[in-house]
Symmetry: none
Subunit: 220 residues, 4 copies
Amino acid sequence: MTRLMTLAKPSRTENSNPLRGKSGKGQQTSLLILLAAEKLITDQGYHNFSLRKIAEAANITLGNLQYYFPNKDNLIKAMLDNCIQRYLNQFEALRHEAEQDPETQFKAIIKVVISDLNKKTTTYFFPEVWSLANHNDHADEFMDQMYERYRLTLIDVMRQLNPALDEEQLRRLALFVTASMEGHTMFIGYNKPWKKETDNIIEMACQSFLWLIRSGQIPK
Amino acid sequence: MTRLMTLAKPSRTENSNPLRGKSGKGQQTSLLILLAAEKLITDQGYHNFSLRKIAEAANITLGNLQYYFPNKDNLIKAMLDNCIQRYLNQFEALRHEAEQDPETQFKAIIKVVISDLNKKTTTYFFPEVWSLANHNDHADEFMDQMYERYRLTLIDVMRQLNPALDEEQLRRLALFVTASMEGHTMFIGYNKPWKKETDNIIEMACQSFLWLIRSGQIPK
Amino acid sequence: MTRLMTLAKPSRTENSNPLRGKSGKGQQTSLLILLAAEKLITDQGYHNFSLRKIAEAANITLGNLQYYFPNKDNLIKAMLDNCIQRYLNQFEALRHEAEQDPETQFKAIIKVVISDLNKKTTTYFFPEVWSLANHNDHADEFMDQMYERYRLTLIDVMRQLNPALDEEQLRRLALFVTASMEGHTMFIGYNKPWKKETDNIIEMACQSFLWLIRSGQIPK
Amino acid sequence: MTRLMTLAKPSRTENSNPLRGKSGKGQQTSLLILLAAEKLITDQGYHNFSLRKIAEAANITLGNLQYYFPNKDNLIKAMLDNCIQRYLNQFEALRHEAEQDPETQFKAIIKVVISDLNKKTTTYFFPEVWSLANHNDHADEFMDQMYERYRLTLIDVMRQLNPALDEEQLRRLALFVTASMEGHTMFIGYNKPWKKETDNIIEMACQSFLWLIRSGQIPK
DNA sequence: AATGAATGAGCGTTCATTCAT
DNA sequence: TATGAATGAACGCTCATTCAT
């Protein structure tokens, strides 16, 4: 299991489209499969993630599904590659958002990210990826790339909040902040017992993170 | 999926021992199976969690395993019930630890909990439970009970750190603190890319949590 | 593909019974499967040799068949091991047959062996094994062991026919004689166009082999 | 399964070129496929003989392969038809070779034929055909035609070696000689355990066959 | 308390074949 | 000529479960 600590490599993820699906029809079927796969893993968990169920959900035959993705590993990778793009785009959007003062922007990001945990897709999909990443290289790489980009987005804003912090401190802070937020998934997520606490969590997160950033007491 | 927001019910977990195995030999075999099951789910993930593999790991026949646990669901519940005790005991120990000043005690707890994430068992077992909890009632209940007791331990200490906080604020704080720490599992855990940051994470956690507790600015 | 040029190792083939089938019932089912497998490969060829077809022929379920033979390779090996015994026994019988003069005994062996080619089992089963031996280690080993014993039987008689031959010459002769006879399988075998020539082939074989043995002009 | 005991019918094999591929490009692709098919059956055995693998080996798409050979049976027949020509040509060459005395010529043929068994193509391809011939009419016909021509070549020389033999005796002798030699394939062939005995086998074959021919004691 | 036997469903995968373009 | 899309059957294999002993 090789880990990529470097920046996300868009060129890598872009050409990971399935081998088949050169024609318009094929592209469409290909995408249909990937969406069905994502929905299935979200709805029923990875231990119910079978090619037959995906094919059924996509309303195609198993044989045809395997024409597009010659094996399961292949399909998983394609699904993750397809999935990651949406998150990368989202982070990109957060980064280049309307020029506001950094505190407002930071709070907005925290709010967006934590609120996102309430959505079923997020609540259900990510724990599957976290556990899968412990046993599957593609999932591991997916996490590395996605969270790296996520942290970069935060670093940009935090650098403005406290210009005294060096790059290593910023990285460390970003790791702490993003990881902390991920932890709430299982507690305030969709259908979770503390969902109604979401706004309070956002407030506590904003306050404590902002204090930590400004305090400057980040280990060197 | 029914949720238990109440306290852990020890009476519930105590009589969840397998139906068979009242005698000494039976108890022993029963426990052997549960430990093999836990090791398997940790090592290979829930999607590889099969009765055959457990039986093989426990060095007994499939038939015998199914004499103790007549079906898979049954075994999962028993495994989680067995597993939870160790965590509850750990929290109990943290709670009644040598009387120290509350800040020292709080920091000690944070350190113990976050350091624990480095262990393979924790890094690999918990993500499996988190994803499983989205699709299996027993796992869901397991999480409810374990994290409830976990939070109670923290509440005790935090009440001393800032007596001005009311019970609801303390609950809210405990939720925030514990959930935040869980989020680091996937990043500083065993074999994870940021493992070497563990000590820094502990320091940032202690500082920001202590500030938040003492600031008293917890949503009411 | 490792080759065994040494003597057949009976101890090796004897304990190759399937792992399952300890009870009487199990032994019976186990043997039923092996016989069905042998019949199938004979009737339909190795390219039709599927576990489903064997199970059907043995009148058991596929699942049960795979309880006895956990994978296909395993079953093939067991089938060949089971099969080889009959041939080894046959050679043993030829060897210890009623004390006759060596020429009569030699001719009898040639007659038995070549006549055997007419049987459907022989005509159809052996070409499958020959081709399989090029791609499967068990089949390769099966051939090595069987033909080695076959040659030893002949060597015993030929040594009496011409005591002047040394051991290497005898081995060489045995190889030549046995291999030559195998070659007739595809021509005078069951349903083959030259089947009616069998007796003539036997006569030519006897004459030319006997001449060769007695001429003593075997390369050293 | 109808058997052809008559002579090879060149007219039959010549027009068995694939239906498609009259033009230059088509002929070329067609041949490419047939050679890939032959290589595959040699390298991996008939049980691995699939249209997909052939297409991949020939570096064309499955669809295109099936444009040339609309089904598998069709392709097998074409492959065998294509293949037989090379053997027929070889026998023709042996027949019309530089005028020598018949014994020298006979020995040369034996040597060529037996030496040929050492080649991987021969060692691996023929056992596949022999087994296939038991289950497939095209392969059966292929064998009939090829060996018939093979025997005719030998008959020509043997007639000179012993003019006293009648046609039926010659046929019988040719059958015995050719079949005997085929039998060595599995023992002195490519990668086979007795390969180093090839020259000795050739010598024994020459001696015993020549004696048999000259003895004139061939059944009538 | 433990084993062995058997079932039936589902899995990922390969395959020959058909068809539209 | 050649490619891409799709189907349906079969393959080897793993599995949870049942049951007799």
